[in-house]
């Protein structure tokens, strides 16, 4: 295993980077002008957070890389994001359900990180927490609005939940990187956040009139990098194209 702190920072940065990119794919084609603005705002926040986390990761690594080198010059197997965030946008309902599930975890995780023993991490968490609290307010409200809207919007939101629920479990898996972070009081045990997440989820889904899928099966392999989905590679071919095609250029 490489330096667990570097791994941990890449996880935080890659989640924000990959989801920020996905959300930015909505540019100009959202269902309403207000949604265009809100989606661009969310993407902008996440790209900003990714820059902070990956710059710190590069600094910790000390190999002369920076956030851009990490974002644009690593291949799929070096990415450490959750499988959930690399899932394609689908319809607006699937995009917002993905956002909601991630935001609910992200908010709780960042809140715990504000107490990190590493002051650099606590500072990034504090800044991000403000933004993510707003993301969660909005995504939860949208899930409720569409879940308890028309018959069609309800059906689409239930389909989105059924499709994405198997990616929830990975957010709460604890592995050796987490263990090292827990020991150093840098980050919380992901398992400790599950109960709070579950009760919040139940509350929102009840209001949205949506049914939580049964079973606790979970896809894994994103945060460890062991096995990403096929989607990530396609995303990277687009995202990294200029940097790969013109490696000598500065932009």
């Amino acid at each position: 295993m490489s330096d667990p702190l570097f791994e941990f920072l890449c996880r935080m940065g890659d989640n924000a980077l990959v989801l920020g990119h996905r959300v930015s794919e909505w540019c100009g084609v959202a269902p309403a002008l207000e949604e265009d603005i809100a989606l661009a705002n969310t993407a902008l926040d996440l790209v900003g957070q990714a820059t902070l986390w990956l710059d710190l990761a590069a600094e910790v690594e000390g190999a002369g890389r920076d956030a851009d080198a990490l974002a644009f010059r690593r291949d799929v197997w070096d990415f450490r994001n959750l499988l959930l965030v690399e899932q394609p946008n689908g319809d607006f309902g699937q995009t917002m359900m993905r956002q909601f599930l991630f935001d609910a975890w992200h908010r709780a995780y960042l809140a715990a990180l504000t107490d990190s023993s590493d002051t650099r991490i606590a500072a990034i968490a504090e800044k991000s927490l403000k933004e993510v609290t707003y993301h969660l307010d909005r995504s939860a409200e949208t899930v409720i609005g569409l879940g308890d809207g028309t018959e069609e919007s309800h059906r689409r939101m239930q389909t989105a939940l059924d499709r994405l629920f198997p990616f929830v479990g990975e957010m709460f898996v604890t592995d050796e990187v987490d263990a090292a972070m827990i020991t150093a009081c840098i980050a919380p045990d992901p398992r400790s956040l599950r109960a709070g997440f579950d009760s919040y989820l139940a509350e929102v889904l009840a209001e949205a009139k949506l049914i939580q899928p049964s079973g606790d099966f979970s896809h894994k392999g994103g945060k460890s990098g062991a096995r990403h989905s096929e989607h990530l590679g396609h995303m990277l071919t687009q995202m990294q194209w200029l940097q790969r095609a013109y490696p000598d250029a500065t932009w």
């Binding site: 980077l17 990119h21 930015s24 794919e25 540019c27 100009g28 084609v29 959202a30 269902p31 309403a32 002008l33 207000e34 949604e35 265009d36 603005i37 661009a40 705002n41 993407a43 902008l44 790209v47 900003g48 990714a50 820059t51 990956l54 956030a67 851009d68 974002a71 644009f72 319809d91 607006f92 309902g93 949208t142 409720i144 609005g145 569409l146 308890d148 809207g149 028309t150 069609e152 919007s153 309800h154 689409r156 687009q238 995202m239 194209w241 200029l242 940097q243 013109y246 000598d248 250029a249 500065t250 932009w251």
Partner: protein, 330 residues
């Protein structure tokens, strides 16, 4: 300029003495530099012309997201991606202010949207051109936003209050957009051989379409006089185009890029650059819907609207249910 070929009354400008007292008072207020507010009396032609102009401007902001959105997912650095996202977000915001300004004239945003999607209303010709390389993000900011500012700065003094106030907010953001475009061009022009090539190619493709943004020559612009009398158009098309050329030529020289016009030269006598007119037949084709990307742009907007119908209906139904539940609880 995001409004082109705006139809006004199509009649000549009336002399003050030919107006009835109400219209005369209206015109005198404008002549004195006063503002017209939504509840004030206004001639029907003024209202309709403004709806066309503000609506076309709003539509341009909305469609204008597409050529830049084309590069958000390929932006070469995290900072460039963030800046471009912020810019496109601003443009959606400008669309929103402008639709709100138009709504004060008694037309709904949904109606304006329907008119855009059916092709009844237009948006600026410039957004029917493709963005093919990263340098195009520079060219769009530098030239397209640069041309837009030429028109929008004077419109901060336009006679219709809500429009003037929207323009004040928009101008602040547009100048940031232009600077970021120039900054991209600078990096490209000082970059590798491939980057310099991209920069020159972008200038070659965007130069004449940018000149077209100001609309046809004054001698062919039939509706200008009335709009200028009403102060909803502050300068003639040719004045603004000349100002744009005069401003842009030294910038291109600074970048070390060549403007694709062999006739371009400084005219000492006029104190301005002489330059070639764009191909106006191309301009009229673009307005007819035959621009290189016209079909794609309209298809993208129509698809977004159709695909989003269930979302808008869902959220509306939810708001309705909430209101009903609240009423029942009272």
């Amino acid at each position: 300029m995001y409004a082109q070929m705006i139809k006004s009354t199509g009649k000549g400008v009336k002399a003050l003495e030919d107006m009835d007292p109400q219209e005369r008072a209206f015109q005198e207020r404008i002549d004195a530099g006063g503002k017209i507010e939504p509840k004030d009396w206004m001639p029907e032609g003024y209202r309709k012309t403004l709806i066309r102009q503000i609506g076309q401007h709003a539509h341009s902001e909305i469609v204008g997201q597409l050529p830049e959105g084309n590069w958000i997912t390929r932006a070469p650095t995290l900072q460039r991606k963030a800046i471009l996202l912020a810019k496109v977000q601003d443009e959606a915001g400008h669309g929103l202010y402008l639709y709100c300004a138009a709504e004060t004239l008694g037309v709904s945003r949904d109606q304006l949207t329907r008119d855009l999607l059916s092709g009844k209303m237009k948006y600026s010709s410039i957004f029917n051109y493709p963005t093919l390389t990263w340098a195009d993000m520079g060219a769009v900011g530098w030239l397209v936003d640069g041309a837009a500012i030429m028109n929008q700065v004077p419109l901060q003094r336009t006679s219709y209050g809500p429009y003037a106030r929207a323009m004040v907010r928009i101008c602040k953001e547009e100048s940031f957009h232009q600077r970021q475009g120039f900054d991209i061009m600078m990096k490209m022009a000082q970059g590798t051989k491939a980057q310099r090539h991209m920069a020159q190619d972008a200038l070659n493709r965007f130069w004449y379409p940018s000149l077209m943004m100001f609309g046809p020559s004054d001698k062919d612009s039939v509706h200008s006089a009335q709009s200028m009398a009403w102060k909803i158009k502050m300068n003639t098309n040719d004045e603004l185009r000349q100002k744009f050329v005069d401003q842009t030529v030294p910038q291109a020289e600074h970048l070390g890029l060549a403007i694709p016009d062999e006739a371009l030269r400084w005219n000492d006598e006029r104190g301005h650059y002489d330059f070639s007119e764009p191909d106006w037949s191309e301009f009229y084709e673009v307005l007819k819907g035959n621009g290189p990307c016209s079909a794609e742009r309209m298809a993208a907007r129509n698809k977004a609207w159709d695909d989003g119908a269930w979302v808008r209906e869902g959220l509306l139904a939810h708001a309705e249910k909430k209101r009903a539940r609240k009423l029942a609880a009272e």
